[in-house]
Amino acid sequence: MSRVDLPSLATAKQDEVARQMTICNACRYCEGLCAVFPAMELRRVFEGPDADYLANLCHNCGACYYDCQYAPPHEFGVNLPQAMTELREESYARFAWPDALAPIFARNGLWIALISMISVAGFILGFALWSDPGALTASGNFYAVMPHNAMVALFGPIFLFSLFVMGMSMRQFWWSADTGSRMPVTPRALWQAMRDAGKLRYLDGGGMGCMTQSTRPDRYRRLFHHFAFYGFLLCFASTSSGTIMHYLLDWPAPYGFWTPPKLLGVPGGLGLVIGAAGLIWYDLKRDDALPPKDKTGMGPAFTWTLLALGVTGLALYWLRETPVMGVLLALHLGTVFAFFLTMPYGKFMHGLYRFAALTRHAHEQATHTTTIATAPTEGRTRA
């Protein structure tokens, strides 16, 4: 008996995306809305990996659902934002490394909430057990509560581990979409992808704005995403600048408000809070037709985590000289630790996979040799 090649079998969610893409490819009215449709037109059949790639290229702006003449209640039942969101969430689990941790994605909200709570509790317990009780309430000096070396020893390895895991997942995602020859990663494609991602070019309904609440487009979602994303980058830059100052410039914390860690960190924290809170508020009003039918809690887990990171970080900045400093530090470090630990196993990955998909898209649009097939028509160049 021949063995069944399991990885080559398409999943039900891949099949559903392929079914809908086949309909879209015969229609093409949405061509100008985003990157998914031009990418679709380079294909005639949609295998599982094609579906994964296209689903991760989708930014979920919602416009094609409201624009679609075949959307439910039409019998063709085309609802790409929902089908692609479901496949994306499933694909995150399939590309997870190691495989054994893939189930975290199925009940993502629960897992991330649990890990975050345990992490915060661990820090509170740790502080209570090991630090000077006086330092917990009044010192204003973080390192009196948790020595710098202890922080580095704890956060450094877990961050590096997550980076490694995310690299493994990205590699699997990239390779699985290669059908036939390996697609190179070119600087040109990377630059294009960075510009598209940086502007959220495709979270815009082709220029009209997202439509995720009704047929009225708006730009709130992209705005809040920009706040959250650039806020996050600023926070990351803040931490990095602190590390550089500590180790290279031999300038340990605390830092004044005019120093890079604060100049970057405070606006970054504000951006995170505004962006994450905005996204949470915006999603409350979401049209029920669009979110995935299986509620994994992945999206809310991520936005709430970002909000907690921003709020606890800012609170620490303003209240460090007060008696609540110790508790706040435990909350903040606990949230950061849980975030680092779960980065490869939650919605954080959407950015990486989408960036990879944008890179692939940029490359294949620049180099494709497929001529879009058409019936005998005057004046078309020959394939």
């Binding site: 086949t22 309909i23 009215y29 949405c30 005639r44 003449q69 075949y70 058409t374 019936a375 028509t377």
Partner: protein, 469 residues
């Protein structure tokens, strides 16, 4: 409650009329027979409008002067048009882009596989439903009242003067509610009657049972019937419709663009008896697809079967439904329910008649048959490379031509006299300009141009009357 303007229908034409009337400060009520999710009649399935313009604009790739547009119209209609209305429509088509854009409609370059329309037709970003969404948003913001699942079941007309109408809400449910509505003017913009199979039978007999309707199931011609019964002048005849050959597996209604099949020029088309019946390679497909609906409608059972081989499989726009595939012609014939001997004979006869040539589907190439009846004059290559593929064709009706006569103010004519307060726009009057044939994107242009006129004239007739009072 008295409305200034009652509009029957909820597609592009109706919305343009509503917006223009509302901008003049009138109270407008739209009665749309479809539920909200399916609103907009056949506009839902459209993708562009054909507009005259003196220069390209970055999206439209070059100029399309009114004269050329008029030549195109005269060619496809064979002169079956009202020249005065036609010229005015094409002149005013120059304003359509700016008008629609001002209502929130966005445009995109011509779609992959439709390059031939890139110069002449303005494609709606996101297609017709996106365009409708923009028009509805604008209409709602202007205070237009829209009632969904509500149809006009009766109108009171006296000597061409509109007095009022009867609306029926929730008409598809067991508990429809009727309501008399008084309105000072009436705009008939409720589309054609192509989804009314019984009415189609008046022109086509039982064959109409085998027709597929590409567009909305809500175009049942109720308003057209009421208007004709009230004495509106009829234009066109009951047996006229535009149809194309579409995939036979398409749903009875609402299959839209994706049921199109572009493979005919690459293969041969057999009827139920296994006989060819027309030159598949007569001309470029965009110039021929419109005749194949009628060709197939005239065949036994209103069905045709395209057969192609492996070398043509990837040469046309991908289809929504997969082909029937087999490694032998006989196997393929059995799968599609034709007599294997007859199909074998038809394919052999065709293959034997194919002359050597250089295949090129971008020109009228020299691949043709010799001594075959009917001939295939271009793109004829022997069907001999397995796997073989078959698609079933059926007539898919896009729209009907019969409607009511209007003048240049969009006023409906009663015994040749323009009504003081009844207007028409869209498919229900498009036959005034497109008496026969087809020109892609013209229907939307007629609807927009006459929608604007109907809305403005309806509002104007009110102010005139108010001034007179």
């Amino acid at each position: 409650m008295t409305y200034d303007v009652l509009i029957a229908g909820g597609g592009n034409a109706a919305l343009c009329a509503a917006i223009c009337a509302a901008r003049e400060g009138t109270r407008v009520l739209i009665a749309e027979a479809a539920p909200m999710a399916m609103r907009g009649g056949n506009t839902r399935h459209t993708r562009n409008c054909r507009v005259a313009h003196d220069e390209g604009n970055g999206i439209l790739t070059g100029p399309y002067p009114v004269d050329e547009y008029l030549d195109d119209l005269m060619r496809v209609t064979k002169g079956n048009t009202d020249p005065e209305l036609a010229e005015m429509t094409l002149q005013r088509s120059k304003e359509v882009w700016d008008f629609l854009e001002a209502q929130g409609v966005r445009f995109q370059p011509s779609l992959g596989g439709t390059l031939s329309l890139g110069r002449t037709n303005a494609f709606f970003l996101g297609g017709g439903r996106s365009m409708l969404n923009a028009l509805y948003r604008t209409a709602e913001d202007l205070g237009v009242e829209v009632r969904y699942e509500t149809r006009v079941v009766d109108i009171q007309v006296e000597d061409g003067f509109f007095l009022g109408g009867t609306l029926e809400a929730s008409w598809e449910t067991d508990t429809p509610q009727r309501e008399e509505v008084r309105a000072r003017t009436f705009v008939a913009a409720a589309g054609g009657f192509e989804s009314n199979i019984d009415w189609l039978k008046e022109g086509w007999g039982e064959a109409a049972e085998n027709f597929l309707i590409r567009g909305t199931p809500y175009n049942t011609g109720g308003v057209l019937r009421l208007m004709l019964d009230a004495g509106a002048d009829q234009i066109g005849s009951v047996d006229q419709f535009h149809s194309v050959a579409i995939d036979g597996r398409a749903p009875k209604f609402d299959g839209g663009i994706i049921t199109r099949l572009d493979c005919v020029p690459f293969g041969i088309v057999l009827n139920e008896n296994g006989d060819r019946f027309y030159d598949e390679g007569e001309d470029f497909w965009p110039k021929r697809y419109a005749i194949w609906g009628r060709l197939v409608a005239a065949q036994p059972g209103q069905v045709g079967h395209v057969i192609i081989d492996a070398k043509s499989a990837d040469l046309f726009m991908p289809s929504a439904f997969p082909p029937v595939i087999d490694d032998t012609i006989e196997g393929l014939a059995a799968k599609i329910g034709l007599e294997t001997d007859r199909v074998r004979k038809a394919v052999d006869a065709f293959n034997d008649a194919c002359q050597p040539g250089t295949f090129d589907h971008t020109i009228h190439d020299d691949c043709r048959t010799e001594g075959l009846d009917p001939p295939k004059t271009h793109w004829a290559r022997p069907i001999n490379e397995p796997p073989f593929q078959a698609y079933t064709l059926r007539p898919g009706i896009t729209f009907t031509y019969m409607g009511m006569r209007v003048n240049r103010d969009a006023r409906v004519l009663f015994d040749g006299t323009p009504s003081p307060n009844i207007f028409a726009t869209g498919e229900i009057m498009a036959g005034n300009i497109l008496g026969e044939g087809y020109l892609g994107g013209l229907g939307m242009t007629i609807g927009t141009v006459f929608g604007r006129i109907a809305g403005e004239q309806a509002a104007k007739s009110l102010t005139n009357r108010k001034a007179a009072e």
